[in-house]
Each structure stands twice: as C-alpha cells, then as structure tokens.
C-alpha cells in the first residue's frame, strides 16, 4: 500500500538514493545561503556580457523552486527502475553522460535559437513593417533563459524509460456511463455483466506508466518556454541515445572510485583511511568490523537482484559458520564481536 513503484524504497538503488538526497540538500543549501543566482543560465547578460561560461556546467545541479523540486524528485524516484535495468554504475555513467551532452547541446541550441529568432525579428521588422534598421539593442527573447535543474537529463531518461521498461498492464477508465445498445428502456441503474459486453462508451486506456507521463508533462510545462527548451533538447538526446548514435554511450563507464564515492562517501572515505592505516600504521589485529565492506562491495558492484542478496546472505552465513568453527584457533577476537557472536548463534 502506498507504494508508487514496483521497487520498495531505495532497495538496491544507491544511485537514485544518492541523487534524491543530494537534490534535496542542494536545493535547501542554495536557498539558505542565497546562492540561487549562481546556477541561473541566461545568455544575456551572463554569457554575452560577463562571459560566465561556467554557468553552463552549474545550471543542471539543482532546482530552485518547490514545484520543480517535487516533480524532479518524483521522476528520479520512478526512474529507479532504470537503475535496476542498467545496473548502478552504468546508470550513473549514463546520467553523467546525459548531463554533459545536455549542457553542451542546450547551450548551443539556446544560442542558435536566440540568434535566428533575433534575425527573424529583425527581418520582419525591417522588411515587412518597414521600420528603419537602427542600432537596436540585443533583445532577450524566449531562447535567452532556461530554468535551472536536471530537466534535460530527466527528459533523456524519460525516453529510455519508455523504450526499455516494459508496460506491465493496461487499464481502462470509463468516462461516461456505459449505454446498453440493446435495451435502455427498463433498468438503467443495474448494469448486468451481460449488458456490459455490448456497451459502447467513451473510455481511456492507460498503462502503468501513466503517472510518469503526467509528471513529465507537468515538468515540461511548469516554467513555460524556460522549461520546454531544455526538455526538448533532453528528449532529442534521449532519442539519439536510443538509436545508439551518441558517442561514448555504449561502453563508457565512470571510474569505479568516483562511483563508489558518489553512492556512499562515508564508506569510501573510511575505506581509504583504513587502507592508509594498513599500509603505514602498525599492523595489529584487524577487527572484524573493518571487513564489513568486503561483502558490501560485491553487493554494490553486481547487478542487484533479490537472488543475489540471498546468495550474499548465504555466503555471510557460511562465513559465520566458519567463524564458529575456527573460533578456537583464532586468538584475536575483540570484545565487541564476541558479544555479537553470542547473540548470533
């Protein structure tokens, strides 16, 4: 109940989880520290006048209003199916790729659009309305500004979602009372099963993807042209990706270290510190606690199916049994693990 997607919570979707957390924290931080202006992208004045090209890289990192935030989070949450489909690391790589391509394409699209539109306006003005051409100032037209946020990435993923995630069921919504064709004289109220087969009514056939379509449509329209432009670019890139025309999309993978750091920064930092200790520190006994990340590494690297979780648990059980067996021989056993073992058995 209350579950809006087939996967419960963030089970085995560490990238989605990290993205949702980061989106929330970033949006809050930007708002509290009043840094919102730094992630806005507008050709005029930022790029033309002040040459702030870095805005092309920053504009996708966070949304700056509440309704966008809600839609974006909902979409990310739904797209965790894609993470299961691709596997976490591949999914993260694709997101990175989409982010880069979207930033570049969107900026080019905006510049070209702005230029051509300006040109058209100029032509129309000077030729059709015969307004004498004068030293007109640059005008901010609809291509000038877009809303910050990962709209392009989500659009590309939306295409992927439509292509790769199969529809599991269809359902119909009847928009009007079924009108029995044979006898509509006697009992209108009671619709018998026999009469239902012969009814014809207005109906709406929906699939289980329909919430995503609705949310995505809202996202496109949420900020007018400022959100339509990045979304269109995103859709375009998604399409190219589907046809495998996007360079690097097929087998490019992000470095494992970055990926590990992204999904669990705490653990990877601990891991680094541990390895430094192991190398330089005096090699006393290594507590059982520090071995924790070994099975977990497997966990995050391998594709995440429930079978493999079970497998992993079995392996863990085996490890435990072994631990029991060799307990007599292993003299080094810290107090904590001894207590835990008494409760485990």
């Amino acid at each position: 109940m209350g579950q809006i997607s087939p996967i419960r919570g963030f089970t085995n979707t560490p990238v989605t989880k990290a993205i949702c957390i980061i989106t929330t924290i970033l949006a809050l931080t930007l708002s509290i520290l009043q840094l919102k202006p730094y992630i806005k992208l507008a050709i005029d004045p930022y790029v033309i006048e002040y040459l702030q090209y870095w805005r092309i890289l920053t504009y996708q990192i966070s949304v700056i209003n509440e309704s966008d935030y809600l839609l974006v989070i909902l979409l990310w949450f739904h797209f965790k199916n894609l993470e299961r489909f691709y596997g976490s690391r591949k999914y993260f790589s694709i997101i990175t790729l989409f982010a880069l391509y979207n930033a570049a394409f969107c900026f080019i699209f905006m510049s070209l659009g702005q230029l051509s539109l300006y040109y058209i306006v100029y032509i129309v003005k000077s030729i059709i309305f015969n307004i004498p051409p004068k030293d007109d100032q640059y005008q901010s037209l609809i291509f000038n500004e877009i809303i910050p946020g990962p709209l392009g990435i989500l659009s590309s993923l939306y295409i992927c979602y439509g292509t790769y995630v199969p529809v599991s069921y269809h359902f119909k919504v009847l928009l009007s009372n079924p009108t029995p064709e044979s006898d509509n004289t006697t009992n209108d109220d009671v619709v018998t099963p026999s009469s239902e087969s012969t009814t014809s009514s207005k109906e709406l056939t929906l699939t289980n993807h329909f919430p995503i379509h609705i949310i995505y449509t809202l996202l496109i329209l949420n900020n007018g042209t400022r959100s339509i432009i990045p979304c269109l670019v995103g859709l375009f890139i998604g399409k190219i990706y589907i046809y495998e025309l996007l360079p690097g999309s097929k087998n490019w993978l992000l470095s494992n270290i970055i990926f590990r750091f992204f999904i669990s920064p705490n653990k990877s930092i601990n891991h680094i510190i541990d390895s430094i200790y192991r190398r330089f520190g005096n090699n006393g006994y290594i507590s059982l606690g520090s071995n924790e990340n070994l099975p977990l590494e497997n966990d995050t690297l391998s594709p995440n199916s429930t079978e493999q979780i079970d497998d992993a648990e079995e392996v863990l059980d085996e490890n435990r049994n072994e631990a029991h067996e060799i307990r007599a021989e292993t003299p080094v056993r810290p107090l904590g693990s001894q207590f835990l073992d008494t409760f485990r058995s």
Binding site: P37, P45, Y50, R333, L335, Q338
Partner: protein, 830 residues
C-alpha cells in the same frame, strides 16, 4: 488529571506576560485630550501647508521653532512677536544669522566643505556613494564657543497646559492616566524644580570628545519608493533623481560609555555633492518642515522642499497621528536637544555608473561580477549643531570616520552566520555520536548532568538569541532561523533526551550521599546488583537495569529500592525530569537572554566585567564532570572527540569576536578575554586528561578516601595458594623450566632471587595472555621497585572472586553488567 508543576506554571506565566503586553495604541481618554490632539494635528497640517508654499527667498514661514533668527535671539526678541521680518523681492531671505537660525559661526564652517564639490560627468568622474544606507563609526570633538547663545524654544501654550496637567496627574497619585510613564513624569518634575539643571537632556554632551556612530537608512528615489511616488503629479518637477530622503540614527557616547545619547533624525542626501543634512523634530521645533531652508542654497532648497513635503505626506496626520505620537513629540521636546547635522562624504573610487551597477547587484544579487573592494561609507567632515543646547560637535581630525554600506555589512554577517551554522552543525553531529557512544547505564551513570546542563544552556541561549534576532534582519532571516532551529533541535531534543537518560540512570543516587558513592559501596553492591540483574531482563528497560552504583537505603536493603522505583515505571521519571529540565532551562534562558540584551547598553566597564564573569561561568562545563569522575572513580566518561570538539567549537566564536578587529558586530579587541577563557578551558581539559592518565582520584589524598575494592591489588606469592586457580602456579612452574625471552632474568633464578615474578595466564574475555607480577614474599623487605609494579598493575584486574582479566577487557564488560563474566559473582563498581 493534568498536574502542572511549578516550573511549567512559571513558563506559562512568562508566556502570558509576553502575550498580554500592551500594543501601544492608546486612545485619547478625555475630551480635553482629544481637543489637544486635534489642535496639534492641525498645527502639523498648517506647517505642511506652509512648507508647500514656501520659497527660499521668503524665509521659513510660520513654523514652530523657526520663528526667531539667531540675530533676533541675540537681540532678545520674542517668538510671540512673529513675524519680525518682512521678506520680499527687495529683502530676500539669505543664509545669514540675521535671517537664519544658524549662527554665522556655524554656517560659515559648513559652507567651507558641505556640498562644495559637485560631480558632473557620470561616466568618468569619481562619484559619491549613491545608496547611502549603512553604518559608520568615528569620533567627535566639542567646539568651544562661549559666545554661542542657546535658543529657548517654547511649547505652544495649549501643549504646555496639557503637559503640565499630565505631570501633575503623574505626580499626584502615581496613576498615569495620561499615557506618560510615571518615571518620566518624576524626572520632568525634578528638572523643573531646579530649572537650570538640564544635564539629563539627551544630547547635552558634557565631555569634550567621544565616540559617534551613525546608522543611515535610505528611503530610495521618490519615483521608486511607492509611498512617495503617489505624490508625483508633475514628472519633471516632482521626480528627483539625485537626492533622497534618509533616516539617520545618531549615537553619541563618551569613551567610557557613561553618557549615551541617541537621536533619530530625518534628512536629505544629495548624491551629486555627497552631502547630507538631517534634523530632529519635536513639538517645539518642527525640524522636518524647516529643513529645506537649512540646505544653504536655492537649488538644494527646491529638491529638499519637494522631497520633505512628499515625505511628510506619506503619513496621514488626521488618521494615523495618535496620542502616542503626540506624547512622543512632547516628551522629545522636553527631554532632548534639537539637532541639525551636516555630513559630507568622501568620493569613492568608482564612477556614478559603476556605482549604480554595484548597488543593483548588491540589492538584487544575480551573479554579476562586482569588484572585491566595495566602496565604504567615509565621512570627510561633519558638524552637529544643537540650537537649544548650544552645542557644536565636529569631526576629530586624523581619526577616520568610516563604516560599511548595509549590503556589505549583510554580506559580512552572512559569512559569519554560515560559519556559526557550520559550528552548530558540527556540534550537533558530535552530540549524536556521543549519545550513540554512551548508551549503557554504566556509561550514563558517570556523566555529569551539570555538564550537560551548562552545554545545553549555552545552546538554548544561541537558539533563543537567534530566534529573537531573526525577526530584526530581514535579509538574513532564513540563515538566522536555520541556526536557531538547529540549535534548538540540539538543545531541545537531543541534549534534553540525553540529560533525561543520564538523570534516570542516576536516580538511584538520590538517597545516598557523595561519601557513599565515593566508597563505591562494596558490600552493599553485591546483594543489590544480584537482585538488579535478575529482574531487569523481564521488565525490559528502565533505569534499574544494571545499576552501576546501587542505591543504599539505610535500613532495609534492596527490596525496597526496587519496590520504589519499579511500580512508578520509567516513563513517569522521564516525564518529570524532562518537564523540570525544560521549564527550568527555558526560564533561565529567557532571563539570561534579557540580561545579555540589556547588558549591551551598559557602560563599557560593566559590560567587560559581565563578559568575563559570564564567559568564565559558561565555559566551566568540564568542572562538574571532573568531580563526577572523581566521585565515580572513572577515568573517562565523554569521548575525547566530544570533549575536545565541544571545547574548540565553543572557543572559536570567542576568538573571532575578540581578535578579529573588523568583525561585523564591532566587538572590541580584547586579547585578555581570549587568554583568560582559553586558559580556563585548557585548565579544565588538562584536569580531565590528567584524570585519564593518573587515575580519577589523583588529586585527592588517598588517606581521605574511603576504602574501596582494589581491582589491581598486588599479588603476593602466598596469596596464590588461597583462592586463585592453580593455572597461575602451573604457568610459573612451567615457565621456570623454559627460559623466557624479553630481556628479563630467567624465571628459574627469579623464583628464588627476584622481587617480582612474572606469571602468565589467559584472560577469559579475549583469550590472550596476561602477564601478572607476583611479589615474592621472601624478598618483600628489600622493597619492590614501585614504578615497575605500577606500570604492570595497569594491565590486569582481579575480581573479588579471584578471576583475572585484562584491564580493558573487564572495564568494557563492566559497562554492561557488574557481574563476573566467569562465575557471575557480582562485582563492586569501579
């Protein structure tokens, strides 16, 4: 059913007082008052009319306070005879003491520098500041002018009558029906009784020089500010794009800050000349209405006249002007000197257009590139003239009078707040880790609740202060509120919860004295803990689980204690604790907050003393923990991470405000305070570290201490025969055959000769070897080398049931249960 304890009641009473404070809108009580009010309103309206019709050449017109020129005053004329002069085309009003209220000595000085340098080119010339909002601080000196004659402005007769009546009522029965403070009334009366004594008047500076600080708030251009733009009828003449109305708060203090004079004035800032004029106003001196004639020339006069009449129009006098406003006017007229101020600013390094760009970005940040060096408020010269107190103040030469624009100040404050937010956040994380770390009753019982209380008190002070401040600074509201919320979450939720759990574990100490806790209750403990550990598993949680320090009720032992604590249940205890802590802490915080806010206006010496005492008290949080450790004979209670982290976090702000001279709150430079607090905190930390190193009771003479069970007693050779397992003897004999390594004498010889024999046995907890020193009784008299013994004693512990463990192993275990891990005999607490 709902039992409200005293503290909660107190809390509600305080809240009630807050809510029921008067709103400040007094209605007139009698027809007499109403008449006075209406007359006064009419007087103000007439003055407004007069201003609207005035011309520079025709003089002030009929405006209260401006009737007599300075020459008239010298000639001893009376304001009642107004008009004394008849201005016209042949006799134009000019800025001279013959016509003006400014004496020539003042006006000639002002004319020298005020508004003399006008910028023309907006693109190339270095311009004066456009947006003047900000604060500046400098010093003043009093100009000695013995010839200066004081004006004696008089209240209009009807107001005088009203005022006298009010005073009589105020004095007569102490029932201030008129809306005056009784205090004010008394003061006034005293003043009148000895007529010449007007020292108490605000602004009557008695010292030759002192400190001045100004706060300027600009209303913006009249065509942008919606209040003003309503009155623009004619675009060309009414829109003024190079001057604006400002609000200037002026504060004068002597160096000791014994005298403290605060004025609120309004005036005009001329952007093209970088000059500012402002005046005060009261019932006997309608400064705002006469201001435009004080601007020294005709073109300034027109701008000032337009702006001031628009400004005066913004408040609807017939509707909005209340009794309080009128009383304010009258009180000011009696208790405050009137002042006229002239400020001249320095040019900035930027041109007019650059400044406009910078101001736009500062007010509406959008990420435009602005220079790092933002222009400051720098005052080149100024003059403050008080006509009725006969005072002229000017700038002390050589001493800079500078300050920050309010946007720059806000920027600085913002980075300061981000720093504080970070500190508060780190403190929260530290606290969470500490709470996670200390969950067992054994650990909780050693934590001093006083320490937690002081820390929590500091945090609640931060929370409340920031909450109060958050409403004052609009631009930084979000950030300040964020700090307040995090601080509140920390003190109100986590620290409170932690303190409650500490108190509930220590509830068993209620009946005992610290002497008995010191003793660690060896014999009593056996029975109690035996009982305590069998029962708790079935009732789950609660304070009685493993009682590190079991209660010792005098006559009947354990059964009664368990009986008294169990039936009530842990919930009841916790609720009462959290209620009392919350109510007590909250009331204390409120009182302290008001004290601190109040202390801000104290003179500097008192403030310093308050700071020293307050900071020393607030930073003595480890002292209770030190005594608690001694009491419970425990080396460590908080983790070192928490101890050092908390101390450093609480010291950083003190360092910042006392050592960084340009801190935005303008706290004075005080390295002594820093040194004192640092030494005090480091001293406490050293005590804790020493306790860890030398043992918790290192500073107490052992003879004074009651006898407690010694876990690390010296084993003598003959002891081994009684009680200890034969394993030790075996290990000795076995090691006797094989020569041991490690640089010591071989045991074969040591059995007979050496003072200490080492014996090995296994710790049942970690299953590794323990080295036991055993004193050879034969050579006992030779004197065992104390140091070596001490060093070795640190590694092992022997229970009363003769089981041997590693020190760390058993101490860890004893956090959970006071029971021997081998034979389940109960153990005396450490």
């Amino acid at each position: 059913m709902v039992e409200v304890d005293r503290q909660t009641l107190l809390f509600f009473i305080i809240m009630f007082i807050f809510l029921s404070l008067p709103s400040g809108h007094d209605q007139p009580h009698s027809t007499k008052e109403r008449e006075t009010l209406v007359t006064f309103q009419q007087q103000l309206l007439d003055a407004e009319e007069e201003l609207a019709l005035s011309q520079y050449s025709l003089g002030y017109g009929n405006i209260t306070g401006f009737h007599l020129s300075y020459q008239d005053l010298l000639d001893g004329k009376s304001a009642k005879d107004w008009p004394l002069h008849d201005y016209g085309s042949d006799n134009e009003w000019i800025e001279d003491q013959k016509d003006s209220i400014l004496p020539n000595s003042v006006s000639s000085k002002v004319k020298n520098w005020w508004g003399s340098e006008r910028i023309k080119d907006h693109d190339n010339d270095r311009a004066y500041l456009l947006n003047i909002s900000g604060r500046a601080h400098g010093e003043f000196q009093k100009v000695k002018d013995d010839d200066l004659v004081k004006y004696n402005f008089k209240l209009p007769p009807y107001l005088k009558e009203y005022y006298d009546n009010a005073m009589q009522i105020g004095n007569g029965n102490g029932n201030d029906a008129s809306g005056y403070d009784e205090e004010n009334g008394n003061k006034e009366d005293d003043k009148r009784s000895n007529n010449d004594n007007i020292i108490t008047k605000v602004g009557n500076i008695t010292v030759p020089n002192g400190k001045i600080s100004i706060g300027i708030k600009s209303y913006g251009y009249n065509f942008i500010n919606p209040d003003f733009s309503k009155y623009i009828q004619n675009k060309t003449s009414d829109e003024i794009d190079d001057a604006m109305v400002i609000n200037l708060k002026l504060n004068l203090k002597d160096y000791e800050e014994i005298e403290d004079h605060e004025f609120e004035t309004r005036g005009i800032y001329f952007q093209e000349t970088g000059s500012l004029i402002s005046v005060s106003r009261s019932a006997k001196f309608l400064g705002f209405h006469g201001l435009s004639h004080l601007t020294l020339n005709d073109s300034n006069f027109i701008k000032a006249k337009t702006l001031m009449s628009q400004f005066l129009n913004t408040s609807d006098i017939r509707h909005d002007f209340s009794m309080d406003d009128m009383n304010g006017y009258i009180i000011r007229s009696q208790e405050q000197c009137e002042i006229i101020t002239y400020f001249q600013f320095e040019k900035t390094d930027y041109t007019w257009n650059q400044l406009r760009f910078i101001d736009d970005e500062l007010i509406n940040p959008s990420g435009k590139p602005i220079p790092n060096e933002l222009p400051n408020l720098t005052i080149k010269d100024y003059l403050i003239y008080s006509p009725d107190c006969g005072i002229i103040l000017t700038k002390t030469p050589e001493i800079p009078f500078v300050g920050l624009k309010s946007e720059v100040l806000n920027k600085k404050l913002r980075s300061l707040l981000v720093g504080i937010l970070l500190l508060v956040f780190i403190q929260l994380l530290l606290f969470l880790r500490q709470i996670k770390n200390a969950r067992t009753p054994g650990q909780l019982s050693t934590i001093a609740s006083k320490t937690l209380f002081i820390i929590g008190f500091q945090d609640s002070l931060v929370a409340l202060m920031f909450l109060l401040v958050s409403t004052l600074i609009e631009d930084l509201y979000l950030l300040i509120a964020c700090v307040a919320v995090i601080a509140f979450i920390m003190c109100g939720i986590f620290e409170l919860r932690f303190m409650v759990s500490v108190l509930t574990t220590q509830v068993n100490e209620r009946g005992t004295t610290w002497w008995e806790i010191l003793r660690g209750s060896t014999n009593g403990g056996e029975t109690t803990t035996a009982e305590g550990t069998t029962t708790p598993t079935d009732n789950g949680s609660g304070p009685i689980l493993p009682i590190a320090n079991p209660p010792r009720p005098p006559p009947t032992t354990t059964t009664t204690t368990t009986a008294t604590t169990t039936p009530a249940g842990p919930g009841w205890e916790e609720a009462s604790f959290s209620n009392s802590i919350f109510a007590g802490g909250f009331s204390l915080t409120i009182v302290a907050t008001f004290l601190i806010l109040n202390s801000l206006v104290w003179r500097i010496q008192y403030r310093r003393i308050f700071e020293y005492v307050g900071l020393i008290l607030l930073n003595s949080y480890w002292i209770p923990q030190f005594f608690r450790n001694t009491l419970k004979n425990k080396r460590q209670s908080f983790t070192w991470e928490f101890v050092f982290g908390t101390s450093i976090i609480r010291l950083i702000p003190i360092y910042y405000f006392n050592l960084v001279k340009s801190n935005p709150l303008r706290h004075h430079y005080d390295p002594v305070l820093v040194a004192v607090t640092t030494i005090w905190v480091v001293f406490q930390l050293t005590l804790l570290v020493l306790q860890y190193q030398l043992g918790p009771r290192f500073w107490v003479n052992e003879k004074w201490l009651p006898k407690a069970y010694d876990y690390q007693r010296v084993i003598h050779f003959k002891d081994l025969e009684s009680g200890f397992s034969s394993e030790i003897l075996n290990s000795i004999s076995s090691s006797a055959k094989v020569p041991t390594t490690g640089g010591r004498e071989s045991p074969t010889s040591s059995i007979s000769g050496a003072d200490i024999i080492e014996s090995k046995c296994t710790c049942p907890i970690c299953m590794t070897d323990i080295t036991l020193p055993i004193v050879n009784t034969i050579n006992d008299k030779n004197g065992v080398s104390e140091n070596e013994l001490k060093k070795m004693k640190k590694t092992y512990m022997i229970t009363p049931c003769f089981h041997i463990f590693h020190n760390d192993c058993l101490e860890n275990w004893m956090k959970y249960k006071l029971q021997c891990p081998v034979c389940r005999e109960s153990l005396p607490p450490i």
